[in-house]
Subunit: 113 residues, 2 copies
DNA sequence: ATAAGTAGAGTAGCATTGCTACGCATGAAG
DNA sequence: CTTCATGCGTAGCAATGCTACTCTACTTAT
């Protein structure tokens, strides 16, 4: 996946990966890598700020936990987050349909003779 | 179309709309509006800088023309632009497939019992 | 006439957002 | 004891679309 292409669609993806169960940042990165067959492999400098952003806007809720001497910050969707995810999904459907249509090779407009 | 969602995919769209025939900026805006049923309605502050960018990077070539006392800057694809358009199309296919998959509601991973 | 609307190009500066390149800590494996 | 995986974090950069504006010229109402 080329960098930067994600722009604007990362939040939806993060919400989606948190939908079935709460996860911590590192696990989110792994889940994305697995589910996209390595196509989406985000650096920590992308993932953590994005999670903080989602937390700040109230779409996820975070809490610390410690597992095997290592601390983790576990994120879970809020109800606002679940709603936002649905919105993202429908936005994505519209958006991707529009872009797909526009990228389609277009025949020359026929001017009436 | 929500603003900002386009991020990173505008160039490909512009190249696509220029593929069948050269157009000037204003005509590009109209073509996009028509072809997307009003969904993609870009302000001039988006379109002109983007065209300049494409010109600067050699993907389009521009020339002035005057029609009915009004000057127009007409853009056409270069061969590099045609190649870039193909790349954009395949990038888009990969990207949209990946995002669609990731946004899909995911079942909880089954842990072996 | 003149005001409003359409056609047409442009810029400055902002906001968002993902990325690079770091720092720091703990535990396991060689 | 060094390297690797796990795990969180930030500062600052770069790209890019948008808002809000300027300027010109023709066209159509009032």
């Amino acid at each position: 996946m080329r960098a930067e292409t994600l722009k604007g669609h990362l939040d939806g993806i993060l919400l989606a990966v948190l939908e079935p169960e709460p996860r911590h940042g590192y696990a989110i990165m792994e889940a994305l890598r697995d589910r996209s067959a390595g196509q989406v492999d985000l650096p920590t400098g992308t993932i953590y700020p994005a999670l903080h952003r989602l937390e700040r806007t109230g779409l996820v809720r975070a809490s610390w936990s410690t597992v095997g001497g290592r601390r983790r910050r576990v994120y879970e969707l809020t109800s606002a987050g679940r709603r936002a995810l649905e919105t993202e999904r429908s936005t994505w459907r519209d958006f991707s349909a529009a872009v797909t249509a526009l990228l389609q090779p277009m025949p020359l407009a026929v001017s009436p003779q």
